[in-house]
Amino acid sequence: MKVTRRKFMQISGASAAGLAVSGLGFDLSPVRSHAQMLKTKHAKETTTICCYCAVGCGAIVQTDMKGDGRVINIEGDPDHVINRGSLCSKGAALFQLGENENRLLEPMYRAPKAKKWKQVSWDWALTQIAKRVKKTRDATFARKNDKGQVVNRTTGIVSVGSAALDNEECWIYQALMRALGLVYIEHQARI
């Protein structure tokens, strides 16, 4: 007999029905009963906004109440008016922003023409950034354009970023950039 899969399912359906009528069959309840404890059962819940695009979906971050307070799970916030619990593939991956073995925990520096990155202190890195921004900004700052109009701008620095900032953080960030005189300010969500 050549049994196709389709046929097979029909046959097995019939025999299962017969078995149900007979009332026989051994009880597997100990194996089958699922007393699963949800990993998020004792988690603290904090709402947040997805950092990735301009839609602004709401998410719930579940963190460990005991122990180290790390993130256990992040999923869509059903009460949020924008997404009502749903998240796209990027939003669904929010968990990895914090819990990720590839995440850098210290600033890294690669000197011009150097082949390797080296770990540096936050103090050193922030001072260097401030120093170089100030230098470039002062060197390229234009008070007036070719027509003599007041512009107070620099075209020597461009800002692209940052994908991991939320709406409010982005506002503060762009305010700082504009205060420096930047006009080229972009964000991945718009590119």
């Binding site: 194996v31 796209c88 939003g91």
Partner: protein, 239 residues
């Protein structure tokens, strides 16, 4: 028919792959190394660490290009051939309340090839140690009143989950509506599985194993035999 079911409406799927990622995240599955193969379908196939995969197909139907999306996963068959093939409830069993087909670590003691071959939808995947894995219906979530991670995250309403009755009604209602604009629309094996797909084109165009009746191969003799004598073994075990 008690228990739970999914209704996956591919006519609403936009292939954002939110379900694929939410599944990985909830189940704590690692990423896979992917390469550019000229398609957004990545990774290329289901695996021991990928239970859910959105399949992308570009096909020309009646001179028109169609981009078909198929969020593939275990169908949680009402009468599961893999469970029959395994014939060991410590390795593969059906959860009574939901109807979810669950694999345990004991699957490594099974004849892996036999179980994989028994699946009409080509779903189970083996790890190096021989244990098998696939979608578990997020059984922990479902038992605690939540919907599976893939359903929870779906932004378009393509993924749905609920009581079997509710899902069948939703599927039939939706089919009636979609048929008005897509005359080839149909439900895939709605009476045999707990994951009911609605497709708008010939199912073979989406995926070779989208529908069971279209699979080109036969079940192994061993599985057929096991299936036939099963009521007997159950009887003896209960005595």
């Amino acid at each position: 028919m008690p228990g739970k079911s999914f209704f996956i409406d591919t006519s609403l799927c936009m292939a954002c792959r939110g379900c694929q990622v939410a599944c990985k995240q909830w189940n704590g599955l690692p990423a896979e190394k992917t390469v550019n193969r000229g398609t957004y379908q990545n990774p290329a196939d289901l695996s021991f660490k990928t239970y859910k995969l959105v399949r992308f197909e570009e096909v020309v139907v009646d001179g028109k290009l169609k981009w078909l999306f198929f969020p593939d996963q275990c169908r949680h068959c009402i009468d599961a051939p893999c469970e029959m093939a395994a014939d060991d409830p410590r390795a593969i069993y059906q959860d009574r309340a939901t109807g979810a087909v669950i694999y345990t670590g004991n699957t490594k003691k099974l004849d892996t090839e036999d179980v994989i071959d028994s699946c009409p939808y080509n779903i189970p995947r083996a790890a190096k140690d021989g244990s098998l894995a696939k979608c578990n219906m997020c059984i922990g979530r479902v038992k605690n009143g939540l919907s599976p991670a893939c359903v929870k995250t779906c932004p378009t309403g393509a993924m749905n989950f609920g009581s079997r009755q509710e899902m069948l009604e939703m599927a039939k209602k939706r089919l009636g509506k979609v048929k008005k604009t897509h005359r080839k629309a149909k439900l895939l094996n709605p009476d045999d599985v707990r994951v009911i797909y609605l497709v708008t084109e010939d199912p073979d165009l989406y995926h070779k194993f989208a529908v069971a009746s279209n699979s080109a191969f036969d079940i192994s003799r061993a599985v057929a035999l096991k299936r036939l004598i099963r009521p007997l073994t159950r009887l003896t075990a209960s005595m």
